[in-house]
């Protein structure tokens, strides 16, 4: 089987003779209310259909369709050469993806849970992130690593980590995380079509959230944030499953007379300085929300950037509402750990009082 493309859009990053396809708009379909999980599943299906170079593999992704069923039905529809189960070996899963990308494929691999991507850390940092650079562009790495992340689902230990800070600090990788059903679809298509490696963090608590999805859909490109709610008094900066938390907090704050803006970062790398700065320049206050432990978390980068760029405009210190600096706690305690609406509101109070 030589990969042939079934779509036409050409791609400068073609490796070898294989043809390619960007996330070309699919034929218009009626709007349907679907889960976040289904949107991801549809994106994978459409990507597999659009481009023969796309392959999906990982632990339990074929026969089972993944423990979260994100790859459900793909092996059946596209066969065992496009979607297959691997031996239980994460470094090798990512390393295999790297080798396939060298040959011109566009692998999409699944890490079953956040903490189970750690064995692939060396492959990620020392190879995936650097291969394009160390070959002066000869071996680009159009690889997508899908990682379900975050807590709030009652998981036992090692099943609720948020590891985005580790990855975002590694030059050469793009790091994105959708927070809406439309973004789940579009950003995954965009990630698969991207010429560079993308770590695609899937907020697993949102898998079962629902919204209308009308295909084809196009949202903002990778590297851009989105204002999810406009407001004048302060900006809540969030991503992934903290976005709904921020939105809910903003609704509540409205009751107290605070008009909050909610910015969904969408892309941690590249970082949308323009959108973030513009919002905070408008509101004069910023509160960062994420689930990962706060210390040296990604929120530190956001807070540092905003504090530097909006120095003369800030009316209050940038506050962070994050996970605690402890190992992720068990189901019965996780609500203490997670950045809750209450904790966000508390920070809003403090920022507004400043």
């Amino acid at each position: 089987m030589t990969p042939t493309a079934t779509a036409t859009a050409a791609d400068k990053e073609t490796a070898g003779g294989v043809r390619t396809a960007g996330p070309a708009p699919a034929t218009a379909a009626p709007s349907k209310t679907v889960t976040f999980a289904k949107a991801l599943n549809t994106a994978l299906r459409d990507a597999l259909a659009a481009d023969d170079r796309v392959v999906v593999f990982g632990e339990d992704v074929a026969e089972l369709g993944g423990v979260f069923r994100i790859t459900d039905g793909l092996a059946k529809e596209f066969g065992g050469r496009r979607c297959f189960d691997t031996p239980l070996a994460e470094a090798s899963i990512l390393g295999t993806a790297i080798g396939m990308a060298m040959y011109g494929y566009r692998p999409v691999v699944e890490m079953q849970f956040d903490a189970f991507a750690y064995p692939a850390f060396e492959q990620l940092v020392s190879h995936l992130a650097k291969m394009r650079n160390r070959t002066r562009g000869a071996l680009p790495m159009p690889v997508v690593i899908r990682i379900p992340y975050g807590g709030g689902i009652g998981g036992v230990e090692h099943h609720s980590d948020s590891s985005e800070a580790y990855i975002a600090h590694t030059p050469g990788i793009h790091v994105v995380t959708p927070a809406t059903v439309e973004d789940a679809y579009w950003m995954l298509r965009a990630a698969i079509a991207a010429p560079d490696p993308v770590v695609f963090f899937e907020p697993k608590r949102l898998y079962w959230s629902k919204a209308a999805l009308q295909l084809p859909v196009t949202t903002g490109p990778i590297g851009t944030a989105a204002v999810r709610r406009q407001g004048r008094d302060a900006t809540l900066i969030a991503y992934g499953q903290s976005v709904p938390v921020a939105l809910e907090a903003a609704e509540h704050a409205g009751e107290y007379g605070y008009d909050l803006e909610v910015l969904d970062l969408r892309s941690l790398v590249p970082f949308d300085d323009a959108a973030v700065t513009a919002s905070v320049e408008r509101t004069g206050r910023a509160i960062v929300v994420h689930e990962a432990a706060g210390f040296a978390g990604f929120g530190a980068e956001i807070a540092a950037r905003v504090s530097e760029r909006c120095f003369y405009r800030l009316e209050a210190p940038v506050l962070r509402v994050t996970g605690l600096d402890i190992p992720y706690p068990p189901p019965k305690l996780e609500h203490w750990y997670l950045p809750s609406v209450d904790r966000v509101l508390d920070a809003v109070e403090r920022a507004m009082a400043a």
């Binding site: 369709g65 423990v67 297959f84 239980l88 706690p329 305690l333 203490w336 750990y337």
Partner: protein
């Protein structure tokens, strides 16, 4: 839908064009003492007299029944919402019991998430053993008192710990053995390899005991290895590799006993593969009908490890219906106690989240603890 239509792991291998030959360790039939009907097999293992003594075997049988009772009850408890998740070891009770019985109190056990029944057989209180699966952040039991590491979820990562502990015992001159439990899937992980290889180099007193239950969640063994046997991996480490029937508890106790003896007497590590089957789905959250036939499960149900020993004990005049019923009642009492202990929601104090992160909390943790405590106090005031 199988990748590249691989031959089954038990299928024919490459044509033997010397020296380009995949060389299996030996006969791939697992070692046995009993056949599937509970009769000693011809040409089978020769357990010692001690291992075959009726009192000993009755104790083993009780352990099997305990493991089964424990597993059945835990499965019920997870359905009722008293546990966050439960990975059942039904069908693997011979392995669970043998692992716990093969070692001495001073030896260390390194269990996985699937080995809670083994912890129960080792004597750990079931409520303690289930602490983590119940939704706490800690393992419940005192690992030093029970010489049992907390159950390990990141696959194969406990294997180097077992090597380190065994090496430490060896350096200390203590006759302590580390028994490391692993699944078939875990043998594909790098940590498994690094641990086995290092253990052999150090000649550390460790036994790697792989419960090959044929699946890693949905992934069958033939997608996990192209070798005929997981025990073959021992060859590369220069250590003995033994493949044993994982539903034959007498064979298991014999083989584990010998491996533990070797380790204790300075003869180095051993890799044991026990061929068994996971009767239940991966956990209560899994749907096994998506990837395997009921028929396959039935075949293995017929190979039940409890039945096998019961038949042997009955045939040898050591077990009868009334004794069996009495043992059943023991089990019922055990599970009743277990049910009672697990009925109440465990008390969790959020402040404890900060207690054990470091010996002394950092200033930052003290502040966070204070924040939680204030918020807790506010909540309570509201009530």
């Amino acid at each position: 839908m199988t990748l590249l239509d691989l031959p089954p792991a038990t299928g024919p291998h490459h044509p033997a064009a010397t020296p380009f030959r995949a060389t299996p360790l030996g006969d791939t039939d697992p070692l046995r003492y009993l056949d599937e009907h509970g009769a000693p097999v011809e040409g089978g293992l020769h357990p010692s007299e001690e291992e075959l003594a009726p009192e000993r075997l009755m104790a083993v049988y009780r352990a099997l029944r305990l493991a089964r009772a424990f597993d059945t009850e835990a499965t019920a408890l997870v359905m009722q919402g008293h546990l966050a998740v439960y990975p059942s070891s039904r069908g693997q009770e011979a392995c669970q019991a043998a692992a716990a019985l093969a070692i001495e109190p001073q030896d260390w056990l390194f269990p996985t998430y699937r080995d809670t029944a083994a912890l129960a057989v080792r004597g750990i209180d079931p409520a303690e053993a289930l602490t983590l699966l119940r939704g706490s952040w800690h393992c419940g039991y005192d690992p030093k008192r029970w010489r049992t590491a907390p159950q390990c979820t990141p696959l194969a990562t406990q294997a180097p710990h077992a090597v380190g502990l065994a090496l430490a015992a060896k350096l200390s001159g203590d006759p302590v053995v580390a028994l490391c439990l692993l699944g078939d899937g875990a043998t594909s992980e790098g940590d498994f390899h690094e641990a086995c290889n290092s253990a052999a180099v150090y000649q550390a007193p460790v036994v790697f005991f792989v419960q090959n239950n044929q699946y890693a969640i949905s992934v069958p063994l033939r997608k996990q290895t192209h070798a005929l046997s997981l025990a073959d991996k021992a060859v590369g480490y220069g250590m003995p590799g033994v493949r044993v029937d994982g539903n034959d508890v007498i064979a298991l106790i014999h083989v584990l006993g010998e491996a533990v003896r070797r380790a204790r007497e300075g003869e180095g590590p051993t890799l044991i593969e026990a061929v068994t089957y996971r009767i239940q789905p991966h956990t209560n959250a899994d749907d096994a009908t998506r990837y395997r036939d009921r028929h396959e499960v039935d075949i293995w149900l017929a190979r039940d490890p409890l039945d096998r020993l019961a038949k042997y004990l009955t045939a040898t005049g050591n077990l009868d219906e009334s004794l069996d019923a009495a043992i059943g009642e023991e089990g019922a009492r055990y599970t009743a106690r277990m049910r009672a202990e697990l009925a109440d929601e465990p008390k969790v104090d959020p402040a404890e989240m900060f207690e054990y992160v470091y010996a002394a909390p950092t200033p930052q943790l003290r502040a966070q603890r204070q924040m939680v405590e204030q918020s807790l106090a506010a909540d309570e005031a509201e009530e």
